[in-house]
């Protein structure tokens, strides 16, 4: 039946890979070879990107706002630190997964508090949980090292074969591999019926329930998955920097994440990645120009983004690449940023 296959074709429209996406990942990979002296900042961007992607999963797809996403980042960070420090799980990849699972357990447990209530309640509850964990980490200093943080972490080689080097090269490619794999997974999930049902819930929870979607169950599922992602991001932080201190739970960390998504946009997975790059770049540039007032300029940029509108900015940014692509590949191959109005 042609109408049926037509429907199938269009239903998979967004799930298909676009040229722009392939180009994006090739560029990221190329950066690893092009800037051998900048591994540390680039690794930092990758971690932030993964962390932001985690928030995008709940904010951009399911519409759950959070000001305490650092809670999961922090649990992942400390878990990875403790596992390495005490030699419980010394192989980094396995430790990464275990740390992610620890954050996931917390995510599942707290999801019941978060799904009830509206946006404002959610902001307060998530913020509260992060603050609570920060206080607990400080209180149980015999485990966490208190304000000094975990010290003397020594990372074993990845898969027992690739050691972390002092330039951060191994750390960068390790982080990139983790980010890419988790991106692939997330991409798969958001284009499934489950992912679509999340967008439906974000759009209209009343109607979502009225077509038979178990709204709460779906929200718990995605919140738990996002906690895993954030935990892995936190674990990457500890593994690539060999420190875990109280600031992994800091409010600024959760708040920065919101800014990253404001810059990059939500609901198309690349928002966190693009936003992380731009956010860190802006931070770098402004703190070089005016070390004391860089936050002022970041603030100004955010105001401009909100006022001008992200979609228009994207059109301007993509104007030149599209001009080139159109010459080479004809009209159809235009790089566009699919985006819901955030």
């Amino acid at each position: 039946m042609s109408a049926s296959s037509d429907v199938g074709f269009h239903a998979q429209r967004q799930a298909r890979w676009h040229y722009g996406e392939v180009a994006f990942w090739l560029i990221v990979l190329a950066c690893g070879f092009a800037f051998p002296t900048r591994y540390l900042i680039m690794t930092d961007i990758l971690r932030l990107a993964l962390f932001a992607m985690s928030l995008d999963l709940i904010l951009g797809y399911a519409g759950i706002v959070s000001l305490g996403h650092a809670a999961f980042f922090g649990v992942g960070a400390y878990a990875a630190g403790l596992l390495a420090l005490h030699g419980i799980v010394s192989e980094p990849v396995l430790a990464l997964i275990v740390a992610g699972l620890a954050a996931m357990v917390l995510g599942f447990a707290t999801s019941f508090l978060v799904i009830r209530g509206v946006d404002l309640t959610r902001l307060m509850v998530t913020l509260g949980i992060a603050l609570l964990l920060e206080a607990l980490a400080e209180r149980f200093s015999n485990i966490t090292g208190g304000t000094d943080g975990l010290q003397g972490i020594e990372m074993q080689p990845i898969f027992g074969a690739i050691p972390f080097d002092m330039f951060g090269k191994a750390g960068f490619f390790y982080s990139l591999a983790v980010l890419f794999l988790l991106f692939l997974f997330a991409r798969r999930v958001v284009h499934s019926p489950f992912g679509l049902s999340l967008r439906a819930i974000k759009n209209n929870p009343l109607r979502a329930a009225a077509i038979g979607i178990p709204v709460n169950r779906r929200l718990i599922a995605i919140y738990t998955l996002a906690a895993f992602y954030a935990g892995v991001a936190g674990a990457l932080f500890t593994q690539t920097t060999a420190i875990a201190s109280l600031d992994v739970f800091a409010f600024e960390r959760s708040a920065d994440l919101m800014l990253v998504l404001v810059i990059g946009g939500t609901g198309y997975l690349y928002g966190g990645l693009v936003g992380a790059v731009i956010f860190r770049m802006l931070q770098e540039v402004f703190s070089t120009i005016t070390p004391q007032y860089w936050q002022f300029w970041i603030g100004l940029v955010l105001v401009v983004i909100v006022l001008v509108g992200r979609q228009r900015l994207h059109r301007w940014v993509l104007y030149l690449p599209n001009l080139v692509i159109r010459q080479i590949a004809g009209r159809k191959a235009i790089v566009a940023v699919p985006e819901s109005d955030a």
Binding site: S197, N203, R207, G212, I213
Partner: protein
Amino acid sequence: MTIVLETQNLEKQFGGLRVTRDLSLKIEQGARHALIGPNGAGKTTVINQLTGVLKPNSGRILLEGQDITDLPVHKRVLRGLSRTFQINQLYPDLTPLETIGLAVSERLGHGGDWWRRMGTRSDVNGEIADLLAGFHLLDVMNEQTVTLPYGKQRLLEIAVAIAAKPRVLLLDEPAAGVPESERHDILAVVGALPRDVTVLLIEHDMDLVFSFADRISVLVSGALLTEGPPEQVARDPQVKAVYLGEEAVNV
């Protein structure tokens, strides 16, 4: 005849206000049943209790003989009770294709499927295609819902409810707000609903009610005033007095 949907002594209060008073309704299999009443009679409150959005203070709701009073909304849908809303409740950012696709997926139990991509199941695709065609939505299936004309959105609203393959369909003022030019499509679609689907219609439009319904219940101040076939209700002096005023009704 078998009764598919029944309420027994349904009672709902908002604070001191009794919005549903001791309401016992029986809807027969395959019926075209209309629930009418003046503004504020509590019609939508009844629908909200039937679908599970609101919980009654007392009384029971039976779907095909089984007590569903305590079931959450989504479970009633899976049991075969589906509804449309008086004011469109759609997903502004999603396309008709996605909207209907999701409803079909949920019904077939694929809604929680988080690995397989949307659009790769041929049985789901086939159903989506049939529904889109049946509701004149094929040409706009990739447009964002928010950009569709109101009439199309109204059709989508009904299509989504039908996609759940309901045994009982609750239509809450299906033609409300639809411009005259697009009204015909809606009425045709409502008229062409399969006979095995039982329909409970809530409507202000008397032409629609009397052309569509084979049984009418009149609700006044939350209580059942009278019930019967259209001719009888139209002649009922009580109904004329409280609801239709003194005007005569064309049957």
